[in-house]
């Protein structure tokens, strides 16, 4: 077999695959870590009803009225002790007998406001009209539905930038790049082999992550699975381009480390991976939407949660494609081969 002369692109891609699968650390960070993260966050933020509200009263006079509601955990304490319990958040509300009845609570604490509402309801049962509660646990509106596309996005970003940027610089530092360009090797094929490797891994990762999310958390893609995969591939390409850009001039691993971290940090925080970027002030939002990871997450979420079609995600897809084109164009122009 070894006497057969294979195609250089095939050999380059095969080499990349072999090197990847022979490095257990790389395999773990690419395939294992995202799964562990999904499980951990899925458990931490699983949907559960809030516990009963802790309310303290200072004498027996209000006890009967308040203890009827099972959503209230009632304690009877001396006033100083009750105030102390409130300060240290052991109770959410202290009710002092009147007249008039007084509520002691911190109005900035959601728990306290809930406790006050419960107490008000218990003390004036005829007040509000009768209503029926309908808890919302529909797929699509839970935290895990928000989280899964974000995790896929962030995984595409880190794997793309590290897997290409860092590895390329390593090859340059080892003088292997110089050795390779001293042969008739096609430089385009060399770089393309990295992109193909990443795309190939994506096609393994994506079913694993989506399959796991489906079976463990009943998360399913509301829109087209093909479109979801296509957008993920575009994201993969975009971050491959950015990785290439980070690696294009760097002469050692420290430089490329710094560059990749610098590029990734704002996106980790502000691209809506773990929480919605709507928590940031209005003025910066248009800028956050221009980050490649924000665009990727927005598009993936729109397909997974809202079942969005191609037209609905045109804007983020355009942003991604722009980054991909620009980064490849610049990186190829300034790439340090020698």
């Amino acid at each position: 077999m070894s006497s057969l002369n294979a195609h250089p692109f095939v050999e380059l891609t095969l080499s990349r695959m072999r090197l990847f699968f022979r490095e257990p650390g790389a395999v773990f960070w690419t395939f294992g870590f995202p799964l562990i993260l999904t499980v951990a966050l899925g458990i931490a933020f699983r949907n559960r009803p809030p516990g009963p509200s802790a309310i303290a009263v200072v004498d027996e006079s209000l006890r009967t009225a308040l203890s009827n509601n099972p959503a209230i955990a009632l304690r009877v304490l001396d006033e100083p002790l009750a105030r102390l319990a409130l300060r240290t958040a052991k109770v959410d509300l202290v009710v002092l007998p009147g007249p008039p009845i007084a509520y002691l609570y911190d109005s900035t604490r959601p728990e306290s406001r809930l406790a006050r509402a419960l107490a008000e309801l218990a003390l004036h049962p005829s007040g509000p009209p009768a209503t029926v509660d309908k808890p919302v646990t529909e797929p699509g509106s839970r935290y895990i539905d928000f989280l899964i596309p974000g995790l896929i996005g962030v995984n595409l970003m880190t794997a793309g930038m590290w897997g290409i940027g860092y590895v390329l610089v390593e090859i340059r530092v080892k003088k292997l790049l110089k050795r390779m360009i001293a042969t008739p090797m096609s430089r385009a094929q060399f770089l393309l082999s990295f992109v193909v490797m990443r795309s190939f891994f994506l096609l393994i990762e994506l079913p694993v992550l989506l399959g796991f999310a489906y079976f463990a958390f009943h998360v399913s893609v509301a829109g087209s699975l093909a479109l979801f995969t296509a957008v993920a591939l575009l994201g993969c390409l975009t971050f491959a381009g950015l990785g290439l850009l980070m690696a294009s001039r760097a002469q050692n691993q420290h430089t490329v480390n710094g560059l990749i971290n610098l590029a990734q940090f704002p996106m980790f925080v502000a691209s809506g991976v773990f929480f919605s970027n709507s928590r940031f002030p209005e003025v910066v939002q248009p800028w956050l939407r221009l980050l490649p990871l924000t665009a990727l997450n927005d598009a993936l979420r729109a397909i997974l949660i809202d079942g969005a079609g191609p037209r609905a995600i045109a804007a983020p897809v355009g942003i991604l494609a722009g980054y991909a084109l620009l980064s490849f164009a610049v990186a190829l122009r300034i790439f340090r081969w020698r």
């Binding site: 294979a6 095939v10 022979r22 080892k174 003088k175 008739p184």
Partner: protein, 301 residues
């Protein structure tokens, strides 16, 4: 056409530092040509310009009758090389590395063929990180050979190797040359150059200071024997001695180039004995002595 490589007025400057300082060289096909010199003499810079991996500041280079600026793809198919330092991917097997590099060339040797040539057949399934220094170096040379080059560049192929590994590499190079191929190697081992090269250029500070066959260069010293003497007291003035061609002060003593040892030795003893002889060594002259004679310095300082 019989010229394998020609360069004229080759200059390479890095800022204020001149690494190559006006080099002229012509290497015939079928030669094994050695560039000798101490570390920092500009050997690697020169070779990398020849290999098309570095651009000269000025001067012209012609490799196999072609120029890098115009014919790079064609030239890449026809030359082979090993760099002074290459780390192949640690977790690729020997035969995988060779197959990868072989795939880059339109024509060349088979991987099996090259494995036999460098005696790495039984290591073909070993990850490169588990090879010894000598085996790694042989792999590097093998990678240079897969394209079946007409011209092979080897930059310090045996530096840091044990004697046995060096001899193995010498055999590989001798075998390659036997097929009327051209080799250009750099080294700071004089014995290596004497053994492998039909012509050498001694390089110092980016310039060629001597050029010829190892034998011619050694004969230019004027005598085939060297006497090195170290004395307790410093030597001030030496009269011309019979049988001695030339003498040169070196650290702690004197170095004599001698035509006839049996005539010169008694005279040297007679003159230097009153100064207290600490040590006296005689040996055949080598290229090392040529370098010392030309520069007053040793090669590996």
């Amino acid at each position: 056409m019989t010229t394998a490589l020609r360069c004229e007025k080759l200059v390479k400057k890095y800022g204020n530092v001149t690494a190559v300082d006006g080099l002229d060289l012509e290497i015939e096909r079928g030669e094994c040509f050695g560039l000798l010199g101490p570390n920092g003499a500009g050997k690697t810079t020169t070779v990398e310009i020849f290999e098309g991996l570095n651009d000269p500041t000025s001067g012209t280079v012609e490799v196999l009758g072609l120029q890098w600026s115009k014919n790079e793809p064609a030239l890449r198919e026809r030359i082979g090389l090993s760099l002074q330092e290459t780390n192949f991917p640690e977790r690729l097997k020997v035969n995988e590395v060779l197959r990868l590099f072989r795939s880059f060339f339109k024509s060349g040797r088979t991987v099996d063929d090259v494995l036999d040539l460098v005696s790495l057949r039984e290591k073909q399934d070993t990850w490169t990180e588990n090879l010894s220094g000598g085996q790694k170096q042989r792999l590097a040379v093998a990678v240079g050979l897969v394209g079946d080059p007409e011209l092979l560049f080897l930059d310090e192929p045996t530096t840091g190797l044990d004697p046995q590994s060096r001899r193995q590499l010498w055999d590989i190079i001798t075998g390659f040359r036997a097929a009327q191929r051209t080799v250009l190697l750099t080294t700071h081992y004089m014995d290596e150059a004497e053994r492998l090269c039909n012509r050498v250029a001694v390089v110092d500070k980016g310039k060629i200071i001597a050029l010829g066959s190892p034998r011619e260069l050694i004969e230019s010293l004027g005598g085939p024997e060297i006497v090195e003497v170290q004395t307790t007291q410093p030597v001030h003035d030496l009269p011309p001695l019979p049988g001695v061609h030339s003498s040169k002060p070196v650290a702690g003593g004197y170095l004599f180039t001698v035509e006839q040892l049996h005539v010169a030795l008694p005279e040297i003893l007679r003159v230097l004995s009153p100064l207290g002889i600490e040590n006296l060594v005689t040996r055949r002259a080598t290229l090392e002595d040529v370098f010392v004679h030309l520069t007053g310095r040793k090669l590996r300082e």
